[in-house]
């Protein structure tokens, strides 16, 4: 085939995809919550990508997630305080926009760099868990029998543990590092995907088009990849998008409990709030020191909210039974 023909073929092949996406976009447009969700995530995506520009690390060659400190005073200072540390001034900082936390760590810097850390945590945990879940879910759902029974009993066992508690136990055993926290969360999380995918596959498997595919001689692999998965994957993706928020919350919770493995003074939203605890429990009113925990809290909250809104909106959009005005 000539390249020109191929191009034409490609164009024709893309047309329906574009058509479908247009319908999707139209529906997204009609749901204000999903627009909000998408904008929040775009905002955080930009923060993560533009972090080196928005908050350039003052010390070259150092870990950029380590929050720069401005002096050694223990008490936090409110937003708008002038920067005194020469290295930071040199890097272009004039004021602490969000103030400083205890030990003079800059809150603004921590919040900005926290975004990329949150994305990393969410994507890594959910991504790996999703892959494991896909493979096991396909095996269990498509072949059934003893594999299915064993896998389901295993997921039962994992489900019997409250997620955070099992993750806690695993991190305690593995050692407190961020990688171990993520590993523990993956171990805790994948069975839920196995379950969802299995259920979806069991549903799709009964459809006539799957049998029709077998009737023309498709191999099992082809049946799964071409016929079952494309029709089974969407509910799983919705769950996954909701879970990215949940993962970030879990890591933050572990951070808060002091078992996250994130080094002290790191740009981790959960840890920033955790350290702020002392300034509230100590009897400080909301008007004093509010910035220490409120600002990182709002960052975590909005980030998670973004994913939840997205997942929720997609659930409505993709659900063909829900057709509304």
């Amino acid at each position: 085939m000539k390249i020109r023909d191929r191009l034409r073929e490609f164009k024709a092949g893309m047309a329906p995809t574009i058509r479908e996406s247009r319908v999707m976009l139209l529906r997204i447009k009609k749901s204000p919550l999903s627009i909000l969700g998408v904008s929040i995530l775009i905002f955080f995506g930009l923060l993560a990508v533009l972090a080196p520009v928005l908050a350039p690390p003052p010390f070259k060659g150092q870990d950029p997630w380590r929050i720069p400190k401005d002096g050694w005073m223990p008490t936090p200072r409110p937003p708008g305080t002038a920067v005194t540390e020469p290295v930071m001034v040199k890097a272009g900082y004039t004021t602490h926009i969000f103030g400083t936390a205890q030990d003079q760590t800059d809150i603004f810097y921590g919040c900005i760099w926290g975004a990329s850390l949150a994305f990393r945590e969410g994507f890594q945990v959910v991504g790996v868990a999703l892959i494991i879940g896909l493979v096991t879910g396909c095996l269990a759902g498509y072949y059934g029998g003893i594999i299915d029974e064993l896998l389901m009993r295993f997921t039962d066992i994992i489900f019997a543990f409250p997620a955070l508690i099992l993750a806690m136990a695993l991190v305690t055993a593995l050692g407190k590092t961020l990688d171990n926290v993520m590993l523990a969360l993956i171990l805790v999380w994948w069975p839920s995907y196995t379950r969802v995918i299995r259920g979806e596959i069991l549903r799709v498997k009964q459809e006539d088009y799957v049998e029709a595919a077998k009737a023309v001689g498709c191999s099992d692999l082809r049946v799964i990849v071409r016929h079952i998965l494309p029709n089974a994957i969407y509910p799983v993706l919705i769950v996954a998008s909701l879970d990215i928020g949940a993962v970030v919350l879990s890591v933050a919770a572990l951070s808060f409990l002091g078992i996250s493995g994130v080094p002290a003074g790191y740009a981790d939203w959960g840890q920033m709030i955790s350290y702020a605890q002392a300034w509230i429990a100590g009897g400080a009113t909301l008007t004093k020191y509010w910035y220490v925990f409120t600002i990182p809290g709002i960052f975590i909250f909005t980030f998670v909210l973004g994913w939840n809104l997205l997942g929720d909106a997609f659930r409505d959009i993709l659900d063909p039974t829900i057709r509304r005005r």
Partner: protein
Amino acid sequence: MGSRAFIIRRLLLVIPTLIGISLLIFSVISLFTPAQRAFLYVSNPEKGVDLPTIIKQYGLDQPVYVQYWIWLQEVLRGNLGWTKVGNGQVMAVLLHRLPATAEIVLYTAPIVVLLGIFLGIQSAVHRDTIIDHATRTVAIIGWSLPTFWLGLVLIAIFFSSLGWFPSGDRLTLTFIEVVRKPSFMKYTGLNSIDALLNGRFDIFVDAIRHLVLPVATLVTIQIALIVRVMRSSMLEALGKGYIITAKAKGLSKKEVINKHARRNALIPAITLAGILTASMLSGVVITETIFHINGIGRFAATAAREVDAPAVLGFALFSCLIFIFTNLIVDIVYAYIDPRIRLE
């Protein structure tokens, strides 16, 4: 399958699950250092910890399956090891601290379940109206909030700024003294209930005042899920044919919703209620830590920070058992509510 066979099958399934859980916990154990592991078998370190003796006695130098067997026997005997953090036997410490946690769950669970079901139904019935949007927005916000942050914010507002509620502990100091006295009968270990039984209304009020913030925190976080499930199952039920039948019979909207839709929609919500107890234990860990309540959750959190293996594992095992037990009850209830399951 008759309902009897269903329940027997459900009971029998508990056995492999329990074995699996023990295996899983044991494999987590083998991740620990030998010294940490040894503490799993200690029942009182004050008598002196002699590592070589323990290793010998509990076969820690033996093959894995022997170790597992010995460990399992110890667990079945109720010996979960010694905790440095709690300074006692894990089992004893857990039981001692359980009432504090139970008290939180006692007030949280009914509110979450009943309010969640109510809001879910309202949201579905008034679909796409302001009630629906408001409920869903509040639920999704609640779900996106970090538990610990919400707790801190509530403390900052209601304790630090307004001074309405205490920031932590279970009782005011003076009352703790009262409660400790032998004249104060401890029936349940739950302060609020014991206070009522002892006729001390002031202590009851105080205990409730201490519970408001932790319970509010947990409810806000947990309610979202049940609202969401109830809403969607209610919407599903409302779209079913039998709803049209009910309307065609001439029943009022209230009767249609309360009698025909709700009962069907409740079935998935009941399942969820069981699962919620499990996630509530996760929430309890954080809530207790924030509000300084000496329940099993805070104990576990401290233990995890201090790498106190027996305590963490004991707590994990404990919460597992609670989960299995509640789920079993839920399943049995379920088998009686849904006539279809009895015949499957």
